[in-house]
């Protein structure tokens, strides 16, 4: 069990690196679609982060959070795409 706790700690720190990379693109992205892509990536990495945390803390109820994040992330991207097309 302690190996799994250690693995979870390593996995959570590497997922933080992925968060950071996506966040850099969110800040730097030259155009609005670049930022939307970065937000989409942040949502998906968040799903992975919550799932890894559910394993680390042994709480299966956190899987609901991951499912809802998947739904909201998709809706957000679709809304942004619709907004971009309307604006053009």
């Amino acid at each position: 069990m302690s190996e799994l706790t250690l693995t979870s700690a390593v996995v959570l720190s590497f997922l933080s690196v992925a968060f950071f990379l996506a966040f850099v693109r969110l800040l730097r992205g030259p155009t609005l679609p670049d930022r939307v892509v970065a937000l989409d990536l942040i949502a998906v990495v968040g799903i992975g982060f919550v799932s890894a945390y559910a394993i680390a803390s042994d709480q299966s109820i956190l899987l609901n959070v991951a499912s809802v994040m998947a739904l909201i992330g998709f809706l957000g991207t679709v809304a942004f795409a619709y907004y971009l097309r309307r604006k053009a």
Binding site: M1, E3, L4, T7, S8, V10, V11, F14, L15, V17, A18, F19, F20, L21, A22, V24, R25, T31, L32, P33, D34, V36, V37, A38, D40, L41, V44, V45, I47, G48, S51, A52, A54, I55, S60, L63, N64, A66, S67, A70, L71, F74, T77, V78, F80, A81, Y82, L84, R85, K87, A88
Partner: protein, 130 residues
């Protein structure tokens, strides 16, 4: 044994997540970044959710994990297509080293329709991205 499988799946998922993040930073234009972000991160989230299903080993949790994976796999390409198409419509440039642009001269920005014959106006007259 179960912990080993769980840890291996989690590490594989994290690897793909980080690869997706690096791709989003390093690739030179939006369309490549969409490709990197969508495919790599969907695979990564799928692996981590599978690892969660292995860890808890209950029917309800496994079903929810599989449902979330299915939703991610179905919606990932849809959202990538939507955002790339909207970006092409508002005139986001391709990388200057891009060899082939199949939509060039065929995309009608007024109607958002891809025509089967070449239009009069070419890509250079598309409005520029803000």
């Amino acid at each position: 044994m179960q912990d080993a499988v769980c840890a291996a799946l989690m590490i594989a998922g994290t690897f793909f997540m980080v690869v997706g993040g690096v791709g989003v930073i390093r690739f030179p234009d939006l369309y490549m970044r969409v490709s990197s972000s969508t495919k790599a991160s969907t695979l990564g989230a799928g692996f981590i959710l599978l690892s969660l299903a292995f860890h808890f080993n209950e029917l309800g949790t496994t079903m929810r994990a599989v449902a979330t994976i299915t939703f991610l796999v179905v919606t990932g390409p849809v959202s990538a297509h939507l955002i790339s198409r909207a970006a092409y419509g508002i005139g986001v440039r391709l990388w200057e080293g891009t060899i082939r642009d199949e939509l060039r001269g065929r995309y009608n920005p007024d109607t958002n329709v891809v025509e089967s014959v070449e239009l009069e106006s070419n890509e250079d007259e598309r409005p520029q991205a803000p």
